[in-house]
Symmetry: C2
Subunit: 199 residues, 2 copies
DNA sequence: TCCTTTTTTGAGTGATCGTTCAAATACGAT
DNA sequence: ATCGTATTTGAACGATCACTCAAAAAAGGA
């Protein structure tokens, strides 16, 4: 046999997420990537194919991480709705624990607003990931309704989209350097808006 | 005297807004700008100084236009709150009239999420423009409260931030290719949320 | 230890980036 | 018409872009 690869694919992807989430797609050069992943062009292109290929994998890695975080909060909550409110409020926290986040805004939304028609593949990838998140929210709301937490006339898909839009807005708003208490008040307003739909 | 400039500065800026709003800052090259404004490098640099200088002026032009549109809707409404609800719903419309918009998302938010720390001047410019919009919303709400449209216990600055965040989220969400009826339902949900604060 | 196979390296590719500037051009005053 | 001045033009700058590939390096099997 022969030489084995010296890098860890998942570690490299995590670095790529950090870098792209922070700098966006177009403003991240291969030089940045080489330094952040500690890999040289040959290895990078052999492994990920292209800059956009790496970005695509980073998007999926980000989505997987975000999904885990949501599941974690949902699991640790007494009810579905409480979990969703807690999830909303989590985006107003400075940063849970010691790890610093590269940007307040969601990487998916940053990509959705940044990437233009020439990179249609990335656009549609983001679109389908967001659709998946929307569906997960909808399923959580269905579960809440089945548990009697929500009024029976609530349209779950519609409320799911409202919820997703609230999160998008909150995280984009947080990209500004706004006082922490204003941010928590904003998240509280959104969380209490959920109570409107309660049974 | 001597030769007079052959281009109209405001027309050029409008083209720049259209171009930058559509393609973003980093993905717009000077070649794109030369073609869109029909100007050659010498004239461009003599007039606007640099790519970032042109972008800065385009941002201001965009903000002025957006302010006018808001004022127009506010003027044509029976009450302040009705005007705000109408304003919210306007972002769910396909496009009012014949003019096509280059992007659904707000150019200010696209810029806020795209531009990174190396271009701090643009970032802080966006930040102050957004703060100005927030204040305008707050003033409108104060006016509504004075007219008895809002409960007396409503914190107008806080509600203004909530409103701005709703708009941000709605317009970013609309960047996806989502069915029109879903979008109007979303805007309706946000508009009716305003009723919660009514007197 | 040596050989085979795979990975890693980094110089180099042409293209494009934002920007400059001297020459050509055209307008207004005389 | 001629001149003086400001504008317009487009070639060219060095830097950087995403990407390629031949050579060097290193791991596992013999």
């Amino acid at each position: 046999m022969a030489r084995t690869a010296s890098f860890d694919r998942q570690v490299a992807l995590d670095s790529a997420v950090e870098l792209f989430w922070s700098r966006g797609y177009y403003a991240t050069s291969m030089k940045h990537i080489e330094k952040a992943l500690d890999m040289r062009p040959g290895s990078l292109y052999a492994t990920f194919g292209s800059k956009s290929g790496l970005f695509a994998e980073a998007l999926d890695a980000y989505a997987a991480r975000a999904g885990n975080e949501f599941a974690l909060i949902a699991e640790g909550s007494s009810s579905v709705i409480e979990g969703l409110k807690c999830y909303l409020r989590s985006f107003a926290m400075p940063c849970s624990g010691e790890t610093q986040v590269p940007a307040q805004a969601c990487m998916l939304i940053k990509t959705l607003l940044e990437v233009n028609a020439e990179d249609a593949a990335l656009r549609s990838q983001v679109d389908s990931i967001l659709a998946g998140i929307e569906q997960r929210l909808c399923e959580a709301l269905n579960q809440a309704k089945a548990a009697g937490e929500l009024r029976t006339d609530v349209e779950c898909p519609r409320l799911a989209r409202l919820l997703q839009t609230q999160i998008i807005g909150l995280r984009a708003f947080a990209e500004r350097n706004v006082p922490k208490d204003q941010l928590t008040a904003l998240a509280d307003d959104m969380a209490s808006m959920l109570d409107t739909y309660r049974a």
